[in-house]
């Protein structure tokens, strides 16, 4: 079997090469950005800056980890931005009333998980489009945040609580980074090593085949939204702690960054295709865009534009590599 006449790229034939690029192409993009940034800015490689990148990334990262479950199962969750605000106001109220930090965190996460459950039930039970369901529930959730806070932001003035967002382990590693890592590990195990993860892939990949194979499609879909809600609650705690205030108007547009991280990380909008490591890379790339442009001194307006372009680029790359499908 001689195949010397094939076109070869980097010692691989075309098919293997495109498989390789599909799997690891985005890693090269990340490394490339890393190299460019370290060359073009002396500040970039400073420990301080790296930690800074990681902790800004933490919030979006946790949200993206939830989002990847939903998209892989064939859905989308637009309500996470509003959930951040609801978590924030909930914490504010509970903390003011009781002064109990763990309790306020638990209540906030519980409330967000509940709304995730609600999203999931609406989608799975009535077979409604996830886009529409969460587009609507997002309004309800944000409205609720305003209602329970009376529309006001209020400072928490609780230095202990703010440590969750600003504190550091051994004075070096910010807690949000550790929380992100914890959530990433849990997500990795859930999606790649449990039956539930398999069912998520099956439901997103082919819902009919999943049903015919005995997968509990209903609870799998609901489960994906519950996870998204739960992680949004956790992210809400960090965000509230960082600004040390309860605000009903925070989190607007955060779903875009989470979706972007998933897509850049190779998650297919058609469902059924994604990886947690890929999503992690997507998260870091977005962090690098923000940080890099800050360092180089590009305005946030342009940052938004380049993020949009990058998403389009990622989707284009994906469909280009998968053209044969």
């Amino acid at each position: 079997m001689e195949k010397s006449q094939e076109k070869k790229i980097l010692g691989m034939n075309q098919h293997d090469f495109s498989l390789f690029m599909k799997r690891y192409g985005i890693v090269f993009v990340m490394i490339g950005m890393f190299v460019i940034l370290s060359v073009s800015s002396t500040k970039f490689l400073k420990m301080n800056n790296i930690l800074n990148v990681l902790s800004t990334v933490a919030l979006n990262g946790i949200l993206a980890m939830g989002m990847v479950f939903v998209i892989t199962a064939g859905g989308i969750d637009l309500s996470i931005g509003s959930l951040l605000a609801l978590a924030s106001t909930t914490i504010g109220i509970v903390l003011q009333a009781t002064g109990n930090i763990p309790l306020s965190c638990i209540v906030a996460v519980a409330v967000c998980t509940f709304f995730g459950l609600l999203n999931g039930l609406l989608v799975a039970k009535f077979n409604m489009f996830p886009f529409v369901v969460t587009l609507a529930s997002q309004l309800v959730i944000r409205g609720l945040g305003y209602v329970i806070s009376g529309g006001y932001s209020f400072a928490l003035a609780n230095p202990k609580f703010s440590q969750i967002g600003l504190g550091k382990l051994f004075g070096v590693i910010p807690y949000p980074i550790l929380i992100l890592l914890g959530i990433a590990v849990i997500s990795y195990l859930l999606l790649h090593w449990t039956k539930f993860g398999r069912y998520i892939y099956a439901v997103g990949g082919n819902i009919n085949a999943a049903t015919a194979s005995g997968v509990n499609v209903f609870w799998t879909r609901v489960g994906s939204f519950v996870i998204s809600g739960l992680f949004a609650g956790v992210a809400g705690i960090i965000m509230t702690a960082r600004i040390n205030a309860a605000q009903p108007n925070i989190g607007i547009g955060y779903e875009t960054d989470a979706i972007a991280a998933c897509v850049i990380g190779g998650t297919s909008f058609a469902g059924g295709i994604s990886t947690i490591p890929g999503t992690m890379v997507g998260i870091i790339i977005i962090g690098l865009i923000y940080n890099g442009m800050n360092l180089i001194g590009i305005s946030s307006y342009w940052q938004t534009i380049s993020k949009g372009l990058l998403i389009i680029g990622a989707v284009m790359l994906d469909s280009f590599i998968n053209k044969k499908r």
Binding site: L19, A210, T211, A212, G214, S268
Partner: protein
């Protein structure tokens, strides 16, 4: 390639010629240095085992894939196209093995997709004209269906017919048919054959791919055989025998297509009483441990519908189901599986596989609950079990981690079989289990069915291929328009009191 037996003919008469065509997908060579030619005006059979490269070559011809090496000539001229639309313009249309219906298009829209009628020269669609033309075509094919019906409402066989009509109505000079009959019953197959003969009279050339040997001998003039991506030989159908053809395909001697073993038949394992639902009424039957019960009938006679309802995929309006003489209720496939009932769905693409997941994930999907009790999946065990199941059926693939999508049609079907064989059910419903599977593998699957039966499994076999049902079943129930219309036993078939004609007569409603 010493077996090459070229029968010489005037190259002037070749309508299609491939010279030295090769195609690689990563490490797998789907085609290697293939020379292939078809004479004008003939029906040319293309045969070979699953994964031999038949579909790949055809996809190269219509421009879905690009060959890595080699040239194609059409009507004597070098020919390259960039996709099916261009191929149709050049005069070649194709019926695909894997159907790809657009669920929300109407039948008429689907037939005329990409060549719609417009009002005058505008971009506005002339729906009336499209519907009229579609209705005319459907009438020509004696196919009784409203052109305004949506594709998603059609059964697999009906979509297949639409696909055939679509390809034939393009006025192509070469029509490629990749396993067009794999989901058709005998009546529809006859209808297709009439169409083929008609096309031939009009000078159209046809490449006909099928694993059903009878069909090759009935309709084809010449043949070419592929094995493992290589061209093995070509000749006239009138000068070859089934056995010769098969041994060319598999590269070894081969006999006995339905090796039915007689096994001891035990107690009643599964019984239904008065089942009714959409498409079937008042169905009662029983299957015993060790028994293979065949269900025969025309497509749309309610066999698959009954099976789907039993398996919990569609609602039952009436009736009772007993497992080992205990009444059970099945609300969804999950309950059925947990009770030891498995079903191989006829529609592998929609109900069988997640095409973009690995073979391993596909095979283990229905077996996770029973085989993976832990919190985390034991991937070593999973891998081993899936590999066992897929090697048992000799799935041709580079690795068990490959996407199901990358397999040939027949090998995809083997994956569907693997996943349910691994489930080791007590009652196994097989709806068209050997759809698109080559003769060799078919024999192995039949042998496997006999082995399962001897271990006490109760098997219900639904198949549109009469020889298969007759060869494998201990008893055959015949469906006619949603009701049971008679029963034939193995004894009657063996002693000749029942044969293909008597069964067909019952399928058409006779006594």
């Amino acid at each position: 390639m010493n077996e090459q037996e070229n029968f010489q003919q005037d190259p002037q008469e070749y309508i299609l010629e491939c010279r030295g065509v090769s195609k690689f997908f990563g490490g797998t060579h789907a085609l290697e240095d293939v020379d292939f030619h078809v004479n004008k005006g003939q029906v040319h059979a293309l045969v070979g085992e699953n994964g031999a490269g038949k579909s790949t070559l055809m996809k190269i011809i219509i421009g879905l894939y690009k060959q890595d090496k080699g040239e194609v000539f059409f009507e004597g001229k070098p020919y390259t196209v960039n996709g099916p639309a261009e191929a149709i313009k050049a005069g070649i249309s194709m019926i695909h093995q894997e159907l790809n219906p657009e669920p929300y298009l109407s039948v008429a829209e689907s037939i005329f997709l990409k060549r719609e009628d417009t009002i005058g020269k505008s971009f506005l669609l002339n729906k009336k004209e499209t519907n009229r033309k579609a209705a005319e075509l459907l009438k020509q094919f004696n196919f009784d269906i409203d052109p305004k019906v949506l594709m998603e409402e059609l059964t697999l066989a009906q979509s297949q017919m639409i696909e055939i009509i679509k390809a034939v109505s393009c006025n192509a000079r070469l029509v490629i048919m990749d396993e067009p009959t794999s989901s058709l019953d005998s009546e529809e197959t006859d209808r297709l054959f009439r169409t083929i003969r008609n096309l031939k009279e009009h000078g159209v050339t046809i490449i006909y791919i099928s694993h059903r040997m009878e069909e090759i001998f009935e309709i084809c003039d010449s043949y070419s055989v592929f094995r493992d991506g290589h061209f093995v030989g070509t000749g006239k159908v009138s000068e070859v025998t089934t056995n010769k053809l098969i041994s060319m395909m598999v590269g070894r001697k081969f006999d006995n297509i339905f090796p039915k073993e007689e096994v001891e038949i035990g107690d009643v394992a599964f019984r239904v009483e008065g089942l009714s639902g959409k498409g079937f009424q008042d169905i009662s039957f029983e299957v015993r441990h060790g028994e293979i019960l065949g269900l025969s009938g025309l497509v749309g006679s309610g066999r698959s519908e009954t099976m789907r309802a039993i398996f919990g995929m569609d609602p039952l309006t009436n009736g009772k189901i007993y497992l080992d003489e205990k009444e059970i209720s099945i609300k969804n496939p999950r309950e059925a599986i947990s009770k030891g009932i498995a079903m191989i769905n006829e529609d592998r693409k929609n109900y069988g596989l997640c095409l973009f997941r690995s073979l391993r994930e596909n095979i283990s999907l229905p077996n996770l609950e029973s085989r993976q009790p832990g919190l985390l999946i034991d991937q070593t065990r999973e891998k081993k079990e899936c590999l066992d199941a897929s090697t048992k059926l000799r799935v041709k693939t580079a690795s068990i981690e490959a996407d199901a999508f990358s397999l040939s049609g027949g090998n995809q079907q083997k994956i569907v079989l693997s996943k349910w064989i691994m489930a080791e059910p007590r009652v196994l419903i097989m709806d068209e289990p050997t759809r698109g599977i080559d003769v060799g593998a078919k024999a192995e699957i039949h042998a496997l069915m006999c082995k399962f039966a001897s271990e006490g499994m109760a098997i219900i076999l639904v198949s549109s291929e009469l020889p298969e049902v007759m060869g494998m079943s201990d008893r055959i129930l015949i469906y006619h328009e949603g009701k049971l219309n008679g029963e034939v036993s193995r004894k009657e078939i063996l002693d000749g009191t029942a044969n293909q004609e008597t069964i067909l007569a019952k399928e058409f409603g006779g006594k």
